[in-house]
Amino acid sequence: MDASLPYLASARHLWRHPWQLGLGVLGIALGVAAVVAIQTTRASVSHAFDAATAALAGGATHQIIAAPPGVDEQLLARLRRAGVAPRSTPIIERTVTTLGDAARTLTVLGIDPFAARGHALAGAMPANLAFLTRQGAYANAATATMLGVAPGDRLMLGFSGGTIALELVAIAADTLPDELLVVDLATAQEAFGLAGHLSRIDLLLDTGADDSAEIERRIRALLPANHWLVAAGTLRATLGRLTEAFHANLGALGLLALLVGLFLVYNAQSFLVRQRRELFGRLRTLGVTRAQLARVVLFEALLFGSGGTALGLALGLVLARRLLRLALQTINDLYFHLQVAELQLSVPVLLGAALLGIGGTVLAAVPAIVEAARASPRQLASRIAGERTAAKVIRRVAMFGALLIAIGSATLWLPSTSMQLGLAALFLLLLGGALLVPPLVHTALGVLQAPLGALCGHAGFQATRAARRNLSRTGVAAAALALAVASGLGIGTMVESFRHAVDAWLGQMLRADLYLSAPGSDDYASGGALDDALLTALASVDGVAGITTVRTLTLTPPGDVLKLTGYELNRRAFDGFQLLAGDRDAIWRRWQREPIALASEPFARKRRLAVGDRINLPARAGTLSVEIAGIYRDYGNGRGTLAIDRALLENAFGPIATSSAGIYLSASADLRAVQRAIEALLPATGLLHLRPQQAIRDASLQVFDRTFLIAGVLRDVATVIAAIGVFAGLLALALERTREFATQRALGQTRAALWWQLMLETGLLGLLAGLCALPLGGLIAIVLIDVVNVRAFGWTMAITIPWPMLGHGLLLALGAALLAGCYPAWRLAAQPPAAALREE
């Protein structure tokens, strides 16, 4: 027998069913695209982050960092005198913003051009060292264009301590990172109020030398209190780790889309095999061996997988462009400033996605391959035998689904804080739940048969019967649809609950009528734009009843990032804290008298702190030891915050610039009039922002909504994949049933009755899949809210059931199924029965 015969026969069959072929390939492509998009986005963000870290570290191997106010400048001379760090560069690094409405964030780096000779940044330094004397700065051409300045132009930039005026004196080489302004060290120290202090000292140590450990020991011996020698990039690596939860959540969403995609690949593959049972049976009768048939199906899977994967890779990169923008926005909103990243084509990501696409397709085809290889020629030729096998598979799959749910539930009960384990449990539950959809729909159709028959006549009776009978073919599509709708509902419920919780939290937290804020909340500087004189002037404005202030400080002991907030509070503002643990009145009594702190929920969870525990913080001189008196709800910061009294903060760290002030009005005051009076007091630089409470609330919710745009995009991708799958499934099934419908029409069924039957059939399938999606979506929401988010961010919240969304989910499932049924119904109704009866 010619070995190419089975391949030719198969190819001709596929050629005659181009829709099915196309939709199968598209299903794979979309699944792969989701994974490529997410992984490429993650790789691009990581690359941008690493590049920025490496560029700013300037090739240094180590850094000396310190608790605020920073590294003692004298240390540099001591290190050099001791001869332990001949190549050391003093650095000041600060985040600033441009003034005006569309503020851009930039990094100002203060260096000593003579000490920086060994530093990588020196390579990009212009030959003209005019910036040394005239508060000058240099930047690369891209940054100058972005800022709209040319050499000789002046720039006004803001930071929490006030404004800084710089003049662009030269354009540096392109090797200088974007969004970076380099100034002389003395200029930076003066502008940022850091006289005598440095952000860090970059060291280039010979780490390969025999005495490197000894050198490090000698450097450590020279360090004053609260100064640390760390490997270069440690701080940024710590910051980078903060985004792990965000990345993991993204990855989870991508896998969800792939899971739906794989369901559809399985669906397409099994359809293609079942449709050709008779052909395979005939080929087996003609002498084609089981191994040869298995090879044909395997070859097809490889071909589909490759085609779909190639398309998916291209689509994924297009999608990645959009996702990257959204991811950068979120990272900038929630974590730290990251400059615009280029899309990074990562070979491992592309290879991994290709492997997943092709491998997943082959894996999904395994049951079909086994079925084609195992059955006898007689069984293959019998459609009924195929149905019996499929029914048996459904039962087995249902049992497997129940087992997965049991394992997933057990995993959730494990006493662990691992987010990955939480996500793994979620996937087990999802997969298990999806596998239970076909048997549940089967049972429901059995129950509905009599009432629907009574309600809709013969169409109801036939639709329920046919839907039930064909579930071995449509079950996977129904499961994929349920999974996609459930994902949408689960993520939607999580986002809605979260939004509800954030809104309520903002409502309680934002007690003042007006808020005045300075840019850059993590800077350490005294004085500043929001200085005491201005605060006193504000307090005397007519209608102002009181003022509270906030000062923030970021501590970076090795391997950690701690946000410390010093509050100057009144009781009304203090009541804004939503306490999860601790006695409110007792804390208020002790607030200004004792070294106590309120820990935000993420802070307490990540450090496993409870009320009554103590925490030691590296202070300017020695250690600040505070007792955790209460734990409060805080959705504003994933890193966690420790709130203490202003006096306690400034006693330990020295004077710190006020980053924002809450202005409370008297009951009779007119908000607009007070706002105008305060605006008249503000400096004309535009550095300070005065906003009413509602505007802050709106802006916060806007940031929130932006954060979850990515989730929305990925949820939509999963839904589109499922809709395509349902369409492909129903189309294939309808085409397969051409003769069945033609027989019914020969026996007197009208076109309208055929339409009605098919619409009822697909509608029932969609509706039941949607109904299955409700509890599955609820399960996803519960695991996301109570397990994954708590483990990832440390946030707890009450579940808000979004009732309209449930209705929307049901309608989506119903609509997708009905829409998918329209074309097959039209096709079957339009075809003369004689032609349909002739079709194979």
Binding site: I384, A385, H458, L747, G748, T750, P833
Partner: protein, 259 residues
């Protein structure tokens, strides 16, 4: 009035830019109660002819009148009603719905008829009993032999008491003994007054009809009347020859026609 009248019936197909004429200006009348066999080589147009009579396809030109009603004047819904109430179909491959019991298959045409639903099961059971399969009513097609499946198909075709039975190669997938059983059922139905149009390529099957139409190249080459060979007698002879205890199928009675 003839029950079937065909005037200048032409059916052409477009295939790869070429026009194929499957039926070429066919004219014919069939009287009520006639048992007509349609024979001819493959591609001669016999199945196309049957599809036209059965309103399963539309002609390129010409007219088919069923009981005086011109089918080209009827819309799709009226044609469906005509198929449901006037015509019964029996196919070579039986075309029973899989995973559906015998009685449910027989009930299928009743679902599209005005017959009250409460009566469906009883009527279907009666037809099954008529073809000797009452005890197999709950069996699925996969649990029935080829002959039994065809008998279910016949019961289904008779359930709405049609005036015309159209059978396309009804014995094509059956052995000779089972074929005789099926033909003896057709013989009974014909005797009860049902008009039967049977497409076959087997001369010994066509011999059971009283009239044979020979198709060639889309035209009726010969319209021959003959004395039909009794299928019931042939079955008894065959069974005797094989030494099988003669147990001929019970005569099929169609209440509508035997009344």
């Amino acid at each position: 009035m003839s029950i079937i009248e065909v005037r200048d019936l032409t059916r052409q197909y477009r295939m790869g830019g070429e026009t194929l004429t499957a039926l070429n200006r066919v004219n014919l009348t069939i009287e009520r109660g006639e048992f007509v066999a349609v024979m001819g080589p493959s591609g001669s147009g016999k199945s196309t002819f049957l599809n036209q009579i059965g309103c399963l396809d539309t002609p390129t030109s010409g007219t088919v009148l069923i009981d005086g009603q011109a089918t080209d004047q009827l819309d799709a819904a009226a044609l469906a009603a005509l198929r449901n109430r006037y015509l019964g179909f029996v196919f070579q491959q039986f075309n029973l719905l899989a995973r559906t019991s015998a009685i449910e298959n027989v009930m299928l045409p009743l679902l599209y008829s005005p017959t009250p639903r409460a009566k469906h099961r009883a009527i279907a059971m009666e037809r099954l009993r008529a073809v000797g399969l009452a005890e197999r009513a709950s069996h699925h097609p996969s649990q029935l032999s080829g002959g039994q499946q065809q008998r279910v198909a016949i019961a289904r075709a008779l359930v709405n008491e049609p005036k015309i039975l159209l059978a396309d190669e009804p014995t094509g997938a059956l052995d000779s003994r089972t074929s005789l059983e099926i033909m003896s059922i057709f013989e009974d139905l014909s005797q009860q007054g049902i008009t039967i149009l049977l497409v076959t390529h087997e001369a010994d099957i066509a011999a059971h009809a009283e009239r044979t139409l020979f198709f060639r190249d889309g035209r009726i080459q010969e319209d021959r009347r003959q004395r039909p060979v009794s299928a019931r007698d042939a079955l008894a002879t065959a069974q005797a020859a094989l030494g099988v205890a003669a147990q001929p199928a019970a005569p099929v009675s169609n209440p509508a026609h035997s009344a």
